[in-house]
């Protein structure tokens, strides 16, 4: 393993200090928490920074809280495994809980954070697709200000986001799920259990009393330069009863949205087929959950 280039490591004890540091070193700074993405990237020379600011000692930043009126707030340093086992996440956000249960390895889930998974901006990021489906947004804070960015505006390309170097993800805000809603996430990869997703599909679906779709978001992972919203499929489902044929057509619409490439993990052709399959399965499960049916 090549040695890492030298850098200064900062462990501020307050958010103010952290913001001061990232502002001062904005020319060459990385924010770190678990380091599960950043450290290997720095070792490989893919990420370079003279300064690394660790958030692990910033108090209160790892909180996960849920209120029916306000939804879910995931603190910027909340670990993936803590999110996975949080009872409110499991109850109200099964797609996110599933992603946090299945992604990477147990060691990485215990170290890595959901905010870090988003900040790393991999097209295959497992938490991105469910959070997009839930309509989540990020609270970005810098010295003297904060802004809220919808997650779907956050990613700009592989490894790229709208966040500025002096900004820190303070929290992820996820709206509370409406009544008669269901959500799900599924992924496939070559190694069945411990792997990066070759394709992932998440959806959140909301039905009216007649079983018609009144809200839907579908997100696709690892089939484009960023996680993608499948708007064409969403539009197709709105105001409709999501029966089998419609779901098959929605799946096909998802395939049209996807922009998969051939790479070492899968061929574009296979990825397209998986988008169809997973989208149908995910939407069917969402429908069953929204109708209160047993969704096994």
């Amino acid at each position: 393993m090549p040695n890492m280039p030298r850098f200064n490591f900062h462990r501020p004890g307050t958010m103010e200090e952290a913001l001061d540091l990232v502002s001062r070193f904005r020319a060459s700074v990385k924010v770190m928490c678990g380091g599960t993405d950043l450290v290997p990237k720095m070792r490989a020379g893919v990420a370079v920074a003279e300064n690394v600011v660790s958030l692990t000692r910033v108090p209160g930043l790892s909180t996960i809280s849920y209120r029916d009126d306000d939804g879910l707030v995931i603190g910027g340093t909340a670990r993936i495994s803590d999110v996975a086992r949080h009872p409110d996440v499991r109850r109200h956000y099964p797609a996110l809980a599933y992603a946090c249960d299945k992604m990477a390895t147990v060691q990485i889930r215990n170290m890595g954070t959901v905010a870090g998974n988003l900040a790393n901006a991999a097209p295959s990021a497992d938490t991105a697709a469910p959070l997009l489906a839930y309509g989540a947004s990020l609270v970005l804070v810098e010295r003297g200000g904060r802004r809220q960015v919808p997650l779907e505006d956050f990613f700009t390309g592989p490894g790229l986001t709208v966040a500025e170097p002096m900004e820190i993800i303070e929290a992820i805000r996820v709206p509370a799920p409406p009544l008669r809603s269901g959500s799900a996430y599924l992924r496939v990869s070559a190694r069945s259990k411990v792997d990066i997703a070759a394709v992932g599909v998440a959806a959140a679906l909301n039905l009216d009393l007649e079983g018609r779709v009144i809200g839907v978001r579908i997100a696709l992972a690892a089939v484009g330069p960023t996680p993608l919203r499948a708007r064409q499929a969403e539009d197709m489902l709105m105001e409709q009863i999501p029966d089998h044929d419609l779901l098959a057509r929605a799946g096909a619409a998802c395939v049209r949205t996807a922009k998969p490439i051939d790479d070492v993990r899968a061929s574009a052709n296979f990825r397209r087929a998986m988008v169809q399959t997973l989208a149908q399965r995910v939407l069917a499960r969402c429908g069953r959950l929204a109708r209160g049916e047993d969704a096994q």
């Binding site: 040695n3 070559a190 190694r191 990066i196 296979f270």
Partner: protein
Amino acid sequence: MNHNPKIIGASIPRLDGKDKVTGRALYTDDLKFPGMLYGALHRSRLPHARIKKVDTSAAKKIKGVKDVVTGADTPQIKYGNWRLVPGSQDELPLAVDKVRFIGDEIAAVCAVDRETAIKAAEAIEVEYEELPAIYSVEEATAEGAPLLHDESPGNVSLTREISYGDLEGLLAQADYVREDFFKVHAVSHAYLEPCSSIAVPEEGGRVTLYTSTQTPYIVQCLLASTLDIPENHVRVVKTQVGGGFGGKMEMRPWEFAAAFMALRTGRPVKFTLTRSDELAFGRRRHPMSIRSKVGFTKDGKLLAKDFEVMLDGGAYNAMGPTATFLCGTFGNMLYNFQAYRYRGRHVYTNKPPASAMRGFGAPQAAFAQESQMNMAAEELGIDPIDLRLINAMETGDVIPDVATISSCGFKESLEKVRQVSGWDAKRKEKKPGVGLGIGCFSFISGGVFNWFNTKYNFAAAEVTVYPDGTAQLNTMACDIGQGPDTVLRQILAAELGIGIEKIRLVSMDTALTPKADLGTWGSRVTLMNGNAIIDAAKKIKDMLKPVLFDHLDLNQIHEIAFEDDRVLVKANPKKSMSFGECVYHALRGRRGEPLTARGYYTPRDKGLVSPAFSFGAQVAEVAVDQDTGLVTVTNTYTAHDCGVAINKMAVEGQLEGAIQMGLGYTLSEAFVMEQGRTLNTSFLDYKMPAAEDMPPSTYVEVETYEPEGPFGAKEAGEGLAIPTAPAIADAVYQATGFRALELPITPEKVLKGIGRLK
């Protein structure tokens, strides 16, 4: 079968386990020496090129760089494990005229730290004349293909042929003949410890090499020959080794470069490879293109087999000649038939060299053979287990010109695996997406061949016993994680009748342990080193027995036994003394000469292949998701004849590890290559199964007694790596109707196979 059940056949945890689990065990990269320098290699960036010029001037100017060497600085002596056939020795430690794969070593540097060494290695400039490159055996053997080695026309470095019986006649007379083509791919050994070596210079132009290897004696000899110094100037010490699986059984360029630069600089030099180096440039299992034609009678008797294999050897021979030889032998195992023809060709391509890997030609041969048995069974309308029972080898069977099977539990394995897997019921009940399949195996317990041309016995042991009741075992036997440090002490303890904890082990130091040992490969260690140890222990016992006769004034018809740290009269166990006391008295009579004995083992008059063969059968159960093509192995059942299992826990460990490797080989592992370049060079994209992917596993022992093995033992290391691929492939066929003739069985292939993907 006079042995102590508390020791032989017990489940004894590894004696080195705690140190390894707690991180105390020292691997080569853990070692540091005063003044030690760090090495780095400059590797070829082209798959095939003539080297016009190597410019090291920029590298030499970097501060902290202590030495830079190219092929031109070295003695330029070719090497290879087949010393018996010098023409097969086709590698140079550092390339001189040509490079033949991306990663071929061209130059080496050493510097005060690793970063500087890497920087300097990158600063070396090579001027190439690019040559056309070839990446498959088909291209390589086509007319007019560019030649990798001028000495090997047609890029074939070695052809092995076996032929007996009236092949054409029997095939003509057969009721049912089929011919199939199979393709298997390369996989990485993926040992957890990437290669690491440290050379420490010594007075008189001598050098000690600490290295992660499974064949220290081979490394000693080849290092000495390539450095052009006497063998006795080189001492090789094996540290703890984190797995080898055949990938660490040759001398490698960094071992040479470390020693060469240590001698030049007078300072210790360390090289440690990265995982990415290992995946991009490392040794691998041979890809093969296989044609197999078989003929049966209508009631399932196998008459004849025509077996043709092209091994994709990559750029150099490495252990390819042995794989070519063994593949033909394994094509001939498990079943009796009257005529056999084998033609194996080892072919050069511009890829990293393939070499020995767990199973050594057998996983490939068996994927073809066992798949074909399953296909034939279906067409003959005979249950696949019944078809095997009709043809299965038995104890005493003879493979013409090759071996006599001295113990064989194959039929029992088939019966037992049928029973524990619920075969008969499950095969009848056809559920879409669910399937059950079978694969069988046989493997050698060490080879009788001497391609290394060693002048010494194949295995040696030196045993010394002390008046405090303890013993010391000195041996070159090579524990690379598979467990002989424990198992060989069990064998000595059982033979001497003392506790395992009484034995101090000094292993694998070519200057201190008795000459010689061929190392860990071919599943040879337990049988060969075990026999050498028993030989030494018997000599010790012969030195101790007179003490009892003398002290107890015994009639010479008595026999003496060694049990529970005591030496006793067999017919009257009350007449005894402690082992230590017995040693004390024996020593008194030797006027200061320690009680030491050496034992040896070399298989002689044991045919052409191996003194003993293991057998077994495995059933795999799968669930196939017909929309995604994902195959999940839901269960495996294995029945295994390894003779007497010396350490049951160790055998089960081998099985678990073999299933993990088999899963990866069958379903997910592959090198993704483009124009000779490997694209997936980390475990993120090289899809080795993880612990969570392991299916439940049921294991049934089929115990036989192998007369040639220590306490009746045979191999248990490599055979188990063979059956998983054909068993899974058969199960996938049962589940989906898609019969994979090529590995790996990826989700994409399954979907295409069942017509769900174009």
